[in-house]
Symmetry: C2
Subunit: 228 residues, 2 copies
């Protein structure tokens, strides 16, 4: 409803000595807030603490984000956007199906591992029953393309006769996600309970290789070892 007629900024190019930098302010606040929310959860995070860590005052948080939940929602969207953008880095065009799937799983594994903050935000959001994800129409758009990769790889694999038909791309994505997500999300408790560092490089390599193998064997054309 706010019709902007001011147009106070005459020259968008004039970034000579901008002392006032609303976009930068927003970014700085969001960056800090993302860390705090990922670390402490929605109710655990403290607005005063976030403010203290930014270069600005609490007033600015409310000025730009309205309230705590608004800030959290933006942090959530921010996390999804960052990760989805990172996924665009993956290039599997031209690779034969098996190599492509291998690379996809390895990439996903590493990618999740690099973005623990995102993993934590997703966990937190699940704790909240997706209450905030639901409010964000921005996030869903980002994700429709998430199964594109696996979908294309799988189709090609079936066409070429190396993958068995009848499988579902979304379910394959689900399986890859499960293996890669769990590795980050539950590493702490798993390591504690079994007295073994599941974050150690060598161990991670093993888990990654296992994940790749699981997927490859699952989609492979040859018969399953046991028919139920």
């Amino acid at each position: 409803m706010a019709v902007i007629k001011k147009e106070r900024k005459p020259k968008p190019d004039a970034n000579t000595t901008r002392i006032q930098d609303p976009e930068g302010t927003r970014r700085n606040i969001l960056e800090i807030a993302s860390k705090e929310f990922a670390l402490n959860g929605l109710s655990g995070a403290r607005i005063d603490e976030i403010a203290a860590r930014t270069r600005f005052s609490k007033r600015m948080i409310y000025y730009y984000f309205g309230d705590k939940e608004g800030l959290y929602l933006r942090a959530l969207e921010n996390a999804y956007r960052q990760v989805r953008e990172g996924e665009a880095q993956l290039d599997i065009e031209g690779l034969p199906p098996v190599a492509a799937l291998t690379r996809l799983v390895e990439f996903t594994f590493d990618h999740h591992h690099r973005h623990e903050e995102f993993i934590r935000m997703v966990m937190i959001e699940n704790i909240h029953h997706g209450q905030y994800l639901e409010q964000s129409n921005a996030i869903r758009e980002l994700n429709v393309t998430a199964i594109d990769h696996i979908s294309r790889i799988y189709s090609r694999g079936v066409e070429e006769g190396v993958f068995r038909p009848g499988l579902d791309a979304v379910e394959l994505h689900w399986q890859i996600s499960a293996l890669c997500f769990f590795n980050v999300s539950n590493r702490t408790t798993f390591s504690m309970i079994f007295g073994r560092d599941f974050g150690a490089p060598a161990q991670l390599e093993r888990l990654k290789r296992n994940s790749v193998e699981m997927l490859l064997r699952f989609v492979a054309k040859d018969e399953a070892p046991a028919e139920r």
Copy 2:
């Protein structure tokens, strides 16, 4: 400040038998607290809210559990204990390796599904970097036996020549856990993002079958479709 006349509860009257039941009080409090913590997390849960839902007053919580974190710790231990006890139900003795593994995965899948509260507590605890699990020496003891099943099945499978050697029981357990845990922990966001109800019975059956197949194919003796 309005001085409110103390309206003491009318005496319980002719209560012949035990009116004081410390163990029952503890149990009642712990039961309610477990639900609240699983629902709202440590910082999200409210002591007053927990007290209101019990048959007792907030005073009793502090009397029996010391403070909020003490109560949370007990709730966490309670969740682990309940689930581990449930796992003892599984009987795979005498089954051939493939059938045993099948049943183990199916059971784990269903068991996790039935104990969402436990799943949520584990998620919450991971958010806290296992800070409270660390304090509990009771929990670790419960879990050393958790890999016993998979370990025995796998050994037997290798001996009988149906499973390939060189795999690690703890890693197998890790893989089974990943698939089964994720199904509960991330169902909400996953369903939202892909616009598909991953909690629907038919869908669950598919996911369960996929999980079983993944494990069976992973341990199967036959060669992998792709050697890296």
